[in-house]
């Protein structure tokens, strides 16, 4: 097993209202088999042994599905690999002597809590405003009473694969949340079960998105490029269509 000696440039910020800065750390003898977050674990273990405060970052499942990890690595959310989350990035993708810049997911709507940890609760508020189907427990018909064409089920699944990490927002120069919102809306709007509340859902989610301080979409496709689940920007086009329909419906009815 080989190892790497790296220079890390890490964003440190003591709290939500403190001024942050980039600090430099030498990360020596990092095994190439370690994941990126394990590399930070090693650095933190050494910081703690010296009595210094470790670098704070969000993480949980460490297998690419919970959406907690959220690092901008060398300027790219989730790093240079594409199609993976930060926790799935491994050190074998780096070279000895590399300097690695590590920053939080930056956006006005994602305020920094500490170091690399940001507050993404705006996403939850978007879902709360209408990102669901209103069905009470116990009121559902037999599952086979609703036939769903395979194409619709597959399209819904592709959109539903979004893990809500926020990389799309961090990558966008406008800090737009359109890929997230469109994926969440498309998931339900593709399905027959989602039709009754479709207009209302789209209008409510978009309104909340705007109120939370996310920017507008100007078709940069940066979101699609960094999405760890490779959610298609086609969802944004669908959301725009669904939004226009909902607005027209709203105006006429």
């Amino acid at each position: 097993m080989s190892s790497l000696n790296l220079t890390l440039k890490v964003w440190r910020q003591a709290g939500p209202n403190a001024a942050g800065s980039i600090e430099t750390y030498q990360a020596k003898d990092i095994p190439t088999e370690a994941s990126f977050l394990e590399m930070l674990d090693i650095v933190n273990e050494r910081l703690i042994t010296k009595g210094s405060e470790p670098i704070h970052f969000d993480h949980d499942c460490r297998e690419g599905i919970c959406g907690a990890c959220s690092l901008t690595i060398n300027g790219i959310p989730h790093g240079p690999e594409g199609g993976i989350t930060t926790c799935q990035l491994h050190m074998r993708k780096f070279s000895n002597g590399d300097t690695i810049w590590i920053e939080p997911f930056r956006a006005k709507a994602f305020p920094v809590i500490k170091d690399l940890v940001v507050d993404r609760s705006a996403f939850d508020r978007i879902i709360e405003s209408g990102g669901y189907i209103s069905v009470r427990t116990g009121s559902a018909p037999d599952a086979h009473a609703i036939l769903v064409p395979k194409e619709a089920a597959d399209a819904a699944f592709e959109a539903a694969a979004c893990i809500g990490c926020g990389a799309c927002v961090a990558a966008c120069k406008n800090a737009s949340a359109m890929l997230f919102v469109s994926a969440k809306a498309s998931h339900l709007n593709h399905l027959p079960q989602g039709q009754p509340e479709k207009h209302q859902r789209v209008l409510a989610m978009v309104k909340t998105m705007d109120n939370e301080g996310f920017g507008n979409c100007t078709n940069q496709y940066e979101c699609e490029a960094v999405c760890p689940k490779e959610i298609s920007a086609d969802n944004i086009a669908k959301l725009n269509r669904d939004y226009a329909l909902a607005k027209a419906h709203d105006a006429l009815v």
């Binding site: 949980d60 919970c66 500490k114 189907i133 069905v135 086979h144 395979k150 809500g164």
Partner: protein, 656 residues
């Protein structure tokens, strides 16, 4: 202590229906006067919080994650079982019940398991109505697959991310209720203690993980849905934050902890590669449908592979040992999880392991690709192969995967009765955090089923049996017990911060995990368990003298969070070993090397089972072990709940 499971009388298939009829009701005008605390927002907690709010109760839901959508239920890959018999292949509620009881090695309650099988039908209906995008056939019907060795196709799935899709459905239901005002959500908030006032669970003490503020919350009932304790072993397939604190705090406040020794080791995980390793990644069990597990026949060949001098593909067929196919001809690579895990350990202990550390076996798709073509295999497992390649750097289309068992799921948990209430009145426990439905071993695709059964359908029906006996709002945070608990929690946090020793929290966690893995892991003996019971108190003493928790209490401090969790694991580890030592038999996820079938046993001679199989002692151990806390470092007190089998006859498990 009298442990009354409160299983309703009557025929097995009518118990649940009758119990619902006999259960108390609370009228709609009164429901809103009752406050319920739900800790945990995974499948069990999230579904309970949403459904109780729909019914009209006032719910406060807490989770340590930054969003309820990130609870670790999200990582379940394979699927969810339900006895729908949509495939017309002979499935039924009774068959799912029987498979689950048998899979649990006859160490669970008939009544609970039958209810689980009944409710499985409603879960699928509910999830589909919510918009969970399960896999479908071209006709628009739901698709099913066979999973974890089941003889019928009863598993519903959404590619390799069934857990995430079910959790999103559950989270959306929760979001709907948050919007409606019935649920108040507290993300990034961790429960640090349970408040038991006048003998009833009436609240919790929590820490706001962002500000560090420690506060008390009172309610008429408390529900814990806080998951399992697999991270006691340090390395597991659990998320980094999964912990036993909520359940263990409740245990210290009087709740009995049942069957902690039933720990499931999953056979198909990516092997450990070094000391820095933080977690183990599960590769879906579905891979065993087409992958063949093998090691070289000779130690010399294995040695060469470990050193990188020989490639797997260069080992001839005649030099390979497909040991599961050899030992279990009819089930082969699809034998149950515990058997597959233990067999892997045995061959590696014999020096035949192929990973650089010696702890790994091959999972090979060469034959499947030759038979079915690369495209067919890619359609089934493409995303899993991709995940494997990202982690290991190897391409499974060209070279076999390496796998090794890892701690995955814990069947033990807080003791609950049929209403899912613990022995502490008012304290209810759901999902992996309770002990109730899986016995000594859980079948694949049954964890999601149990979490959602408990949350959507069981607790909403049974909690009224407790609440109807209570006056709403009778206990508030001004009760002296709240003040006392707040004081104790603050003292504990402060003492952790004041140690300022030399070692990191993780270093202690790793040390404890290694003790448990080596001595209370896949194979246990009285000697190994006694060794662990000697060692763990020493690790705990050193922890409290020499841990370095940096930072302060009044801020986001992840070291402090970890320290509190590890401190509890250091006490819980002993309980785990005590239980494993007391249960002098092998069953399911608890294998005692001193209790296995040998060539001399009549059951082996007459072909009912084979040597090395787990040997149960039904005459002595057909009971639930429920442990009472007696103090730090003191032996816990055992209470027994006898298991009664009226419908099934416990049999010897054989997968030959």
């Amino acid at each position: 202590m009298n442990l009354d499971s409160k299983i309703p009388a009557g025929p097995l298939d009518q118990k649940w229906t009758k119990h619902k009829m006999d259960s108390k009701l609370i009228n709609p005008a009164n429901k809103k006067k009752f406050n319920i605390i739900v800790v945990g927002s995974g499948l069990a907690g999230g579904s309970a919080a949403a459904t109780l709010s729909e019914l009209g109760y006032k719910v406060k839901c807490f989770c340590y994650q930054d969003s309820p959508r990130r609870a670790h239920s999200i990582a379940a890959q394979g699927g969810i079982n339900a006895a729908k018999n949509y495939q017309n292949d002979g499935d039924s509620v009774h068959r799912l019940f029987y498979d689950t009881i048998k899979g649990g090695d006859f160490r669970s309650r008939e009544g609970n398991v039958h209810r689980l099988a009944e409710v499985s039908l409603n879960i699928i209906d509910q999830c589909v109505a919510q918009g969970v995008p399960f896999a479908r056939e071209y006709g628009g019907l739901l698709d099913n697959r066979s999973f974890g060795g089941a003889q019928v196709k009863r598993t519903f799935y959404a590619r390799g991310q069934t857990g995430q899709q079910l959790l999103i459905g559950c989270y959306q239901a929760l979001a709907k209720e948050i919007h409606a005002g019935g649920v108040q959500m507290f993300p990034r908030t961790e429960m640090l203690d349970l408040v038991v006032a006048d003998g009833h669970a009436k609240g919790i003490i929590v820490r706001d993980l962002v500000t560090g503020e420690i506060t008390a919350h009172a309610a008429d009932a408390v529900i814990l849905a806080t998951g399992g304790y697999g991270n006691a072993f340090y390395l597991s397939t659990n998320a980094m934050g999964c912990n036993v604190m909520a359940a263990f705090r409740a245990h210290k406040r009087g709740a009995l902890f049942a069957n902690p020794c039933y720990t499931q080791i999953h056979p198909t995980c990516i092997p450990v590669s070094g000391d820095y390793q933080s977690k183990l990644t599960l590769m879906s069990e579905s891979l065993r449908n087409d992958g063949r597990i093998w090691v070289p026949k000779s130690q010399e060949t294995a040695e060469k592979i470990r050193k990188g001098q020989l490639r797997a593909r260069d080992v001839g067929e005649e030099d390979r040992d497909y040991y599961l196919e050899r030992k279990y001809p009819s089930f082969g690579n699809l034998c149950p999880r515990d058997i597959a895990s233990r067999s892997a350990k045995e061959v590696c202990d014999d020096g035949l392991g192929v990973a650089p550390t010696g702890k790994g076996v091959f999972l090979d798709f060469e034959k499947a690709i030759a038979d079915q073509g690369e495209q067919a295999i890619s359609a089934k497992y493409g995303n899993l192969f991709q995940m494997y390649e990202k982690i290991s750097g190897d391409n499974p289309y060209q070279t076999p995967m390496q796998i090794y068992p890892a701690v995955h799921y814990t069947m033990g948990g807080l003791w609950v009765d049929y209403d899912l209430m613990s022995n502490v009145p008012g304290l209810h426990v759901l999902g992996e955090a309770n002990f109730s439905d899986h016995g000594a071993n859980r079948l694949g695709a049954s964890a999601l089923m149990q979490g959602l059964a408990d949350g959507y359908f069981v607790i909403p029906a049974t909690i009224a049996n407790y609440l109807a006996t209570q006056k709403p709002g009778a206990v508030t945070t001004s009760h002296p017990e709240f003040k006392r608990c707040l004081g104790e929690v603050n003292d504990r946090v402060n003492s952790l911060l004041q140690i300022r020793g030399k070692r990191s929290v993780d270093s202690f966690h790793r040390e404890l995990g290694l003790q448990l893995w080596d001595n209370c892991g896949m194979s246990r003996t009285p000697e190994s368990l006694n060794a662990a019971l000697q060692r763990i108190p020493k690790i705990r003493d050193e922890f409290w003298a020499n841990v370095n928790v940096t930072g302060t209490g009044g801020e986001l401090n992840m070291e402090l969070e970890k320290a509190g969790r590890v401190a509890d694991f250091l006490e819980f580890g002993e309980l785990l070993c005590h239980d494993a030592l007391q249960r002098a038999e092998s069953c399911g996820g608890h294998f005692r090397a001193d209790h296995q079938f040998t060539e001399d046993d009549p059951e082996v001679k007459d072909g009912r089972t084979q040597p090395g199989e787990a040997k149960r002692h039904d005459d002595e151990f057909s009971y639930v072990s429920a442990w009472e806390y007696t103090g730090v470092g003191k032996a816990p007190t055992l209470h027994k709940e006898q298991l009664v089998f009226e419908d099934v006859t416990p049999s010897i498990r054989s997968y030959k």
